[in-house]
Subunit: 262 residues, 2 copies
């Protein structure tokens, strides 16, 4: 890995890029995953590479809804595991929920490669100090996170082929799904099943962003960090009648403002 | 290659993506080339995937300047050859100039792979009907385009390492360089040498876009097609005192307008 000096203004973005390139060499990514990452880079650049006001509100709403759900689950793909696997594990540990590897271009090799990487990340996170405000045994909470997706025994209704496979224990029986970087078709199918779908997507104009119950327009690792901090915060916050369309309009407005400042 | 129906509204964008994925399999691209392509996709989407008014003015200005230059050259990288190699060859045939493969992450394998692909594209283009308005023998004009870059014998002053290598016949002695998708450092070095640098870049905020003499904020194949049509047009157009900063501001304004319409 090339060393990037701490002083580099875009260090975090360049480190993410390196993680993607390495994941690609290891065969963990579909062909077009790097292109999708590049699209995300462009939108993040336009957002000023920070969590905007509207994204912060969507993060808070998502945290509230995950906390209220009976069976929340986090659905992850290759890009998410590479860019924010550890951040997702911390959120799952606090919620006591599972993480399911669920790929649009599913192959047994990529599923098992990503599950192996998540196992490694889980061991790393379990050895960390507990986050401030966390009550209980951190190592136990982290090691208790089930990693699903290796043995799909359920299908998402309304989708054809391997992209519909999932597990009954995870996505199949979930009432609330946190799913970063999801495909539009699958997002729509999950919503049609009556599930609450909380999407993380840097493009406020994407079909997923428009289909979701709540869309967090933010970079995936920042979004997970924001959710973690909301879940552990002292201030209890209840879910609201969320107006996702209006939230997406605010994101577009924020991009406009950021463009005008450049 | 997966078949994309003609009716698909984003067919051209998806075909470009396939070309990139295939080029990557063939080892023609640097690690981060796919990510760069994704960034371009996002900006093109924001521009409405069409040549905007300000891009059209920049295309016309670039065509005028290339026509007036003593030694114009087209500098291409992997993404350009894959996405618009044939379009670049048509422009070179009309101008009677060379094309130089010039890579930021130069390896002998990629240089020779790209030159081989350009040779193949050259044979294809030479067999086409001449474009309307072209006078002379089309096949001869196309086959007469020199493909440079295999044997660098010159260096771009002000740059270190392999990224500085070029040929004296091409970039070294050029007074005007048309260079799509260029790196900011190299763009700056070329401008510092007193050369006229005409850049094609979808990101109006990139360092290349800001450093260039004229920046065409457009997708690379559309930009080449536009230049070709200006070069062959009946209306002669002289170069102007080009205000590139103001042109880039217009591009940002166009993105703003396009966002407001979505």
């Amino acid at each position: 890995m090339v060393e990037i000096p701490d002083s580099h203004p875009r260090k975090k973005s360049l480190l993410s890029r390196q993680k993607m390139v390495e994941g690609s060499f290891k065969g963990l990514l579909a062909d077009s995953a790097m292109i999708a990452h590049g699209r995300g880079e462009a939108f993040d650049y336009l957002l000023g590479e920070k969590t905007t006001k509207s994204a912060h509100a969507a993060i808070r709403e998502s945290a509230a809804r995950l906390g209220e759900a009976n069976n929340p689950v986090i659905s992850v793909n290759g890009n998410t595991v590479l860019l924010a696997g550890e951040e997702a594990l911390r959120v799952a540990a606090v919620l006591g929920c599972s993480i399911e590897v669920n790929l649009y271009y599913r192959t047994p090799e990529r599923i098992s490669g990503l599950l192996t990487l998540l196992e490694e990340q889980k061991r790393n996170v379990s050895r960390e100090n507990a986050p401030d405000e966390f009550e209980g045994n951190w190592a136990d909470a982290v090691m208790g996170v089930s990693l699903l997706g290796g043995l799909p025994d359920f299908r998402i209704e309304g989708l054809e082929g391997p992209r519909s496979y999932c597990t009954e224990e995870g996505i199949g029986s979930a009432d609330s799904i946190l799913v970063p970087l999801e495909d539009g078709d699958r997002c729509e199918a999950l919503v049609n099943l009556g599930k609450e779908v909380l999407v993380i997507d840097l493009n406020p104009l994407s079909r997923s962003a428009k289909m979701a119950t709540v869309t967090i327009v933010d970079e995936v690792s920042r979004a997970f960090e924001g959710i973690l901090s909301e879940l552990l915060s002292d201030c209890n916050f209840d879910s609201t009648d969320w107006d996702n369309e209006s939230s997406l309009r605010e994101s577009l407005q924020e991009i406009n403002e950021s463009l005008n400042e450049k």
